[in-house]
Symmetry: C3
């Protein structure tokens, strides 16, 4: 173990920001929804990096209180005016069509058209993102300024969509560790051309899974790429007996912008994942926001429903709904950047590093301090006002390693970065001043 | 239950502020003390509204460490100067005579008179309120300016009072609910012409008891109108075996001014009444003060003595002793107003509403969220930034209804008004998404 | 007990500040280290006041992970220039020689000399205090300005020191109380001419032990005067079976300056000593600092090591390392003053007073308040706005004396000074309103 890199250190080698950005950019143009060929295309893109299992769940399958809906696909869609000019075209941006719009082909008045158009009057140049999965309807989305510019007259509306029996697709990848205990990492894949929400999360987790290949880990890591809500519900319904293995979990979304970071705690509020993320964000050099659990958000809603109550939190940069680009055409590739993606990635790698290395040591000389100086571990010249700082991690670890505190517990009480505590503990362990708790299996990298 | 008014909603119908004020004004002129005909007259006035039981406890009765004192009545009292002019007259204000003054009829010097006069030098135009229940003495109270204006000479002092064997009077009214569990509402009736302290409290509770007549409630409501300290002690001594039924309680005093509101917690500090009042006051739109228990105040001192330790708090607008009018002649009808009384009344009605309706539901679909949209319960158009707010109560209730959280627990954790949580829960219940806990008897209005 | 002085009151009689200062000044010039004749001379000076047991532990004795080092003594030491002028001389200040310097007598260049000189560039007129107990080395300490003024050339360096087999000396004094439960008071005696750190602590505890002689106390008081770290470790190793008697403890250092006061909690964080010091400091009229435990500081590091975890905190005025004079020649007799020493002494006397008198009483009339007025215990005239304050201690004691709260618990919840609570409880006890808990042995003064 001495001198070897930890799991977390191995994960961050290379140039993760550029690679994550490139993959996000690659899947950005695809038209996704909660079902359909865009989802499959996205999953196949992920599979080009990792050995992803792609599951297809037929329309009509009952999953708890829900039913897998018909599959939706769009061939083309546009609005044309009387002079034949296309006002908006699905080919330009898949945001122009409300997701799950039923087929339509009619000439209608401007007044009627306005009944089927969503805009953002406060952000008149942006196109909103809208869905109507479970209420049969059709609509277009466009900039408010464009709608305002339309003159009276009749318009041809065409949505050549398909809502028919098919299946819901999701992808799953399991990195097997030394134990059955799992860390769940989940990203929704149902949003169309929105870069931050959630091409960023899909790309980050794909890269993480890829980097994890071949690493020895204590935990098993389950990566889930599924449509929001119905996808997580479907997965939970099909894996009800397995969720007991989930010891930690993160929903990952909107991780490419420069805001936050933001962590929303699990419903439990004091799960280890909650404590670890709070610790990392406190030491991350940015201005983090730690939120208590609330039942609104992403798929942590399902993982934290009372019948499961899993220790799964939500990691984001900016908080959903809190930036003006949210759910608009401004959530494009300009909103995300390799540096931000890399920072988000490092935070998750550090989370993994803490959980993998959170050992309980026992001080082998619990009565009084051991003589560190004799072992060359301590500033040799006493009386120096400044020597104290450098030795604090050693003193804290020795003082608290009474068999009840893990390294993470110590890092929290001492308010020291975990990595410093881990490295110092390894030094003390090598010097025989710490022993592993007998009843604990070794956790190695 | 659907569409029916709750207990709290029924209680606030009509024009409570005006009615409470009118009754406070009616009993304001009466000379009350801890015993005597003024107390009886006040109790009879209450009995003209509700079916009050009036109890008489003879002088000399032992009540715990105390003995019911002689009964005190005053026929007339005044100070007259040598020219026959009355300086102060009990007929003008019963505050002019210290309560429980022994009889006196003498001519005395100004110097000696000053030994028997209380004034407020810092508030020279006001007459203070003073008592000497258990130390034999006599005194007058008057404005400091008036005392200063008196010239040397001799003065005739007359207090034609009576301190003799009689009884202590108190009134009690029980509204019977579906259970034996009681909510105690207690107001002291021993203060003479002080409008806020406590004609306001007596009138508010009288109106509440009147409005409660005929309502079906879960709890039984015990209204106690008794002299401060000795009255509460007497009641506790005579009802020692019954107090175990008291699940919640409020002492109500000084509820007619525009200050506060103020809530002083019970000795327990975390009783349900403490949590409920804190919740209501936090959402009441005024600037509330929540005080920890202290053993100084009104009759919560007795209810919260260590041998009883009942969950009884103190509800007031301004805190006792914290306004300049406190215990002076300025605590008159100008200090109280129908609007303030109505607001105080509504706060107590809301307290009752929460306690009556604090049900524990169970989410019937605990695994993942139920599909609200299918039931028409959810904003049908996804992606709208603002739809979230309206649905939060539903999501919180479903998430927390795991059998351990009551509606009030949910309102607290979600920081939502209880009424919204209650109404939303009823909606979910009607839709089959919530069930009552099996072991719980229904609580209806 | 009535009218008798408490232990704490007896301890503060006389003129403690002047006496403590005089003794601190007497031992200030002695050259101390962790061993040697200076330590012995200091212990003999203490023994001139109290019946101190002086222990000698031979060089080479194993104490837990440590070994008692050789004994160090210095006959003379200086630096002389080519013209025979002494640059620094141990005879002027024992700070000029790094503690535990090995013998040396050589002529060396200025460049080489600088390798063996410590200065404080930011405090150029002060001489630092430095030690090298366990790494063989030699060095001088001097003002930076003096070092800068030295011209090139050769210098004669002489340290006529002795590092040879001998012993480590420490002193111990036990004041026997009525019980075996101990209060440990510990001061380090290893610092040379530093007045605050720790002539002040040694002198304070010597005075305290002297004043305690002949007093009847509940606790036994163990005073320990030992070199820092190795002395505390040696004492713990030789008294391992006895430490279970230690119920409270304080390390006392730097108690003569005008800063703070500062209290660093024991590792437990909620020991009675931690709560009591926090209470006293909150009411002491100065601006206290309460620190959580950390494993850096004085001998609380050893007492609070995980194998002992004793309830021992650290009491100081200014916090170590936080004042510019710390570990420099400016920590001289000008830094400490009789008034500050007296204040520190009173704080420790008050600590003892609380612990000696922290009785659990039981209210003999737990149901409702007892009638205090009848017993002359209560303001006889009701209605006075200001009477409340004076009676609060009585009301709090009666309300909380349910057998679960000690007087100190009551003082904390009521936020009243302990002395007021104690005196008031004695008054109530004399009046039969409080009884001692049956299962408790009397604690008398």
């Amino acid at each position: 173990m001495n001198g070897e890199l930890t799991v977390g250190e191995r994960l961050v080698r290379g140039n993760p920001g550029e690679q994550i950005f490139a993959f996000a950019a690659k899947i950005y143009p695809i038209c996704r929804s909660i079902t359909g060929d865009g989802v499959r295309k996205t999953l196949r893109a992920i599979r080009s990096h990792i050995d992803l299992d792609i599951h297809e769940v037929p329309t009509g399958t009952e999953v708890f209180d829900w039913i897998v809906p018909p599959e939706w696909n769009v061939r083309e869609a546009y609005i044309r005016d009387q002079r034949g000019r296309k006002i908006v075209d699905f080919a330009d941006s898949n945001l122009h069509v409300m997701s799950y719009s039923i087929p339509v082909h009619r000439w209608i008045s401007l007044a009627e058209l306005k009944q089927h158009v969503y805009t953002l009057p406060d952000q008149p140049d942006l196109t909103p993102y809208r869905t109507s999965y479970y209420a049969e309807n059709w609509a277009f989305c466009m900039p408010h300024r464009l709608l305002e510019s339309l003159s009276d007259g009749r318009y041809e509306v065409v949505i050549d969509s398909d809502l028919s029996s098919g299946s819901l697709s999701y992808g799953e990848y399991l990195h097997k560790g030394e134990t059955d205990e799992e860390f769940l990492l989940s990203a929704h894949i149902c949003h169309p051309s929105l870069a931050n929400d959630n091409c960023s999360g899909v790309a980050l987790l794909t890269h993480l899974a890829k980097c994890m290949t071949g690493l020895r880990t204590r935990y098993s890591y389950r990566f889930l790429f599924a449509p929001g809500t119905i996808g997580a519900i479907t997965w939970l319904a099909r894996n009800e007996g397995q969720v007991k293995h989930i010891k930690h979990g993160l929903v990952v979304s909107m991780v490419g912008d420069g805001g936050g970071p933001t962590y929303k705690k699990s419903r439990r509020g004091d799960a280890e994942i909650d404590r670890v993320l709070a610790h990392i964000l406190r030491h991350c050099g940015l201005k983090p926001t730690i939120l208590d659990f609330s039942p609104y958000g992403y798929d942590e809603r399902q993982y934290c429903s009372p019948g499961f109550n899993l220790p799964v939190g939500l990691f984001q940069r900016s908080q959903f709904g809190q930036i003006p680009q949210y759910h608009t055409s401004a959530d494009n590739l300009d909103l995300i950047a390799p540096d931000h993606l890399a920072k988000s990635y490092r935070i998750i790698a550090e989370t993994i590093d803490i959980l993998e290395n959170d050992i309980v040591y026992r001080n082998t000389n619990p009565k009084c301090e051991p003589q560190l100086g004799r072992r060359g571990l301590y500033g040799a010249i006493g009386g120096d006002k400044d020597a104290a700082g450098a030795n604090m991690a050693m003193l804290w670890i020795l003082n608290l390693s009474d068999g009840r505190n893990s390294l993470f517990d110590i890092a929290e009480r001492a308010d020291l970065p975990f990595a410093l505590v881990r490295k110092t503990a390894q030094l003390l362990h090598r010097n025989g001043l710490l022993a592993r708790r007998d009843d604990e299996k070794p956790r190695t990298t």
